[in-house]
């Protein structure tokens, strides 16, 4: 059964819980999106940009070496990292930028955690000739300088957010506030399948191309559907993108993998399965990590893209109605999976995607040879260069950094 959406709700999750001053801006987007969906010209333009600008379709790769290594089910990797700007994020940025253009907006704004969605938004802003402002937590700016640098080169203004935990959720807060004051001129490109209606529906519609491609590609190679589709879940845009095409087919098991962080306690991870409860935050009703008084709780993950307290409403619905399972991978398991995938398959996954891989590597050996597992690699790992080098305590890289500073000073 396909998940039904009614008045912006997926079962009881979703909605548009915003101050009245955003209602008009959201209605405007909703009605333009509905028009665009039926407009052949929009569809053609969107598809053409996905093909010629982003480089779709992305490959579905048979991971021969890892399949052999684990000796169980057959492993396929959907490489969304092959997209322009290195992750699936560019897809909903292109879609939303087209909507923004149709609405006559002059500026794109976005939040970013690791910087991937920020870079993707800045990229489409440059491509479409729109102004761009990216809101980013002070802590994230400090640890993701390369992406800040690229956003600025792309012409975006990166705005440092110093409230709260100074990370992704605070960047969303500030972007929403800026939008409240500037929705006449600005379009808010939300970076996942969350926020108020119509964003979860709209971004899922754009991202569902991932699952559509997987279906076509696996049928060509295996003449049947996969037994498992596995994806990491932060807000959930890559997961719902990969899953949506398969929801109606009960034989395909859909597994979302959350950030297990360093342990099970609140604050040590970003697992809504472990610690989440129903709440209303940042415009939508869903499962959130929160304290006993209903404040939004701090989260932790080695992967900045998973380090967020909420889950897209459609994913919460899929989980509640048992159409999707949730699991988690620890920081160190993700790093191990990252190393294994890189070494054996020549694919450097983002640390977010490495969580999905870590879970796959737990189940693969237990499955029969005729089973098929597809893992969505939501992004490539180039962005994690500094992070991974530090995690691996790479002495040569450290030496390089020290010398690089000297080269600057010359």
């Amino acid at each position: 059964m396909k998940s039904k959406i009614k008045n912006g709700y997926f079962d009881k999750y979703g909605g548009a819980y915003v101050p009245e001053m955003l209602v008009h801006a959201l209605r405007e987007i909703e009605s333009e999106f509905e028009k665009a969906k039926k407009d052949k010209k929009f569809q053609t333009e969107f598809q053409e940009l996905l093909r010629s600008f982003s480089g779709r379709p992305t490959p579905l790769i048979y991971a021969k070496n890892l399949t052999k290594h684990f000796g169980g089910a057959k492993l396929y990797l959907k490489n969304e990292g092959a997209n322009h700007t290195g992750a699936h994020k560019i897809t909903h940025c292109i879609g939303q930028a087209l909507i923004a253009k149709r609405l006559g907006k002059k500026e794109l704004i976005a939040e970013t955690g690791a910087g991937q969605h920020g870079v993707a938004t800045a990229t489409v802003a440059a491509k479409f000739g729109l102004k761009c402002k990216i809101f980013m937590g002070e802590v994230d700016i400090a640890r993701q300088r390369p992406n800040v640098f690229w956003m600025e080169q792309l012409g975006a203004k990166v705005i440092s957010v110093s409230s709260g935990s100074k990370t992704l959720k605070d960047a969303v807060n500030e972007a929403l506030k800026y939008w409240m004051a500037n929705s006449d001129e600005s379009y808010y490109v939300i970076g996942s399948v969350l926020g108020p209606h119509p964003y979860p529906l709209m971004n899922r519609t754009f991202q569902s191309v991932i699952g559509q491609e997987i279906k076509k590609q696996i049928k060509q190679k295996e003449h049947k559907l996969p037994d498992f589709v596995i994806a990491c879940v932060g807000g959930g845009s890559n997961a719902i993108g990969a899953f949506h095409e398969f929801i109606k087919n009960k034989k395909v098991r859909l597994i979302g993998v959350e950030a297990g962080g360093t342990g099970k306690k609140l604050g040590q991870n970003a697992s809504r399965k472990e610690n989440g409860s129903l709440g209303i935050f940042q415009g939508y009703k869903s499962l959130f990590l929160q304290t006993e008084e209903g404040h939004i709780a701090p989260t932790h993950s080695v992967a900045a893209g998973l380090d967020y307290p909420g889950m897209g409403p459609e994913l919460a619905e899929l989980y509640k109605n048992k159409k999707m399972e949730l699991s988690s991978a620890l920081d160190r398991e993700a790093i191990e999976a990252f190393k294994l995938t890189t070494k054996h398959e020549g694919i450097i996954p983002a640390l977010e995607s490495a969580h999905a891989l870590a879970h796959a590597y737990k189940v693969l050996p237990k499955l029969a040879h005729n089973k098929i597992v597809v893992v969505n690699i939501s992004g490539r790992g180039d962005k994690d260069l500094f992070n991974v080098a530090r995690s691996l305590n790479d002495k040569e890289f450290k030496k390089f950094l020290a010398e690089e500073i000297k080269r600057y000073e010359k």
């Binding site: 915003v18 009245e20 001053m21 409230s163 709260g164 506030k177 929705s183 959130f288």
Partner: protein, 265 residues
């Protein structure tokens, strides 16, 4: 029994003046001080006192109130502290209280339980800015607050669509909280003349009293809207004073600011 807000608004109208609703965040700068501040506000003839239950992520607030909420929570302020402060304000100071917070605090506590606690604390009005009037939660909140004789106050902005305005006017009791502009609370942007045509639009075919807030920080601002609304809301401006004048000067600074505003009447 009549709601205290209605009694105050009748009084304001009779006295042909504009009422003042002041705002504070429970536990900022400390719980003890919050009590002293409400006393000063009551002595300065505040007509309504809006008490904000601090929330970790106050989406409709600007940096001044965000900072106050953060500091209060870091000091360990609990939800029950706001109810205590409300009770103190209502029972001892005899000023009607509007309790303001965000949806997650209310639904986490439970809507019914929240309304019961409001009633027990003598709260006269509730504001939840991120709860749209047509959501299931708001309907439930409306049901329980009405039962408790508490006004559910809606916050509207200049961007409100006609259809929404019509519906809200039908549901509103107490007063409508009109933000003077798009954006968050605070004094960042200049208070503008445009606000008058917007207030005229809201007033049309309606008898519901209006309270105007967002960006009001001087007697001049109050003067501008005096004839167009029943109440003026002063929030961030007072928190700003508290932030700038650490104790013991802060109380006299707040009192002085309030008497400046009262001169308009």
């Amino acid at each position: 029994m009549k709601n205290n807000i209605d009694i105050v608004i009748e009084k304001i109208k009779k006295e042909k003046r504009i009422g003042i609703m002041t705002h504070l965040v429970t536990g900022y700068p400390t719980l003890k001080f919050s009590e002293k501040i409400v006393k000063v506000l009551a002595e300065s003839r505040a007509d309504v006192i809006e008490i904000q239950i601090p929330f970790s992520d106050p989406m409709a607030d600007g940096s001044v109130i965000v900072g106050a909420c953060q500091e209060s929570l870091e000091n360990g302020t609990r939800v029950k502290d706001s109810f205590k402060l409300a009770k103190f304000t209502n029972d001892n100071l005899r000023v009607p209280v509007v309790l303001m917070t965000y949806a997650n605090i209310v639904i986490h506590m439970g809507i019914k339980k929240f309304c019961v606690a409001c009633k027990e604390s003598g709260v006269s009005g509730i504001i939840v800015p991120d709860l749209p009037y047509d959501s299931e939660e708001c309907k439930k909140l409306r049901r329980y607050s009405t039962r408790a004789n508490i006004h559910l106050i809606y916050v509207i902005s200049p961007a409100i669509e006609e259809s929404g305005l019509k519906e809200i006017k039908k549901l509103a009791t107490g007063f409508l909280y009109c933000t003077s502009r798009q954006g968050t609370t605070g004094t960042g942007k200049k208070f503008s003349q445009d606000v008058l045509s917007y207030l005229t639009r809201i007033k049309k075919n309606s008898i519901i009293p209006l309270a105007v807030g967002f960006g009001i920080s001087s007697p001049k601002d109050v003067e501008l809207i005096k004839k167009h609304s029943e109440i003026v809301v002063v929030g961030s401006a007072i928190i700003h004073i508290i932030r700038k004048n650490k104790n013991p000067k802060v109380l006299s600074a707040v009192g002085k600011f309030m008497s400046g505003l009262q001169k308009v009447n």
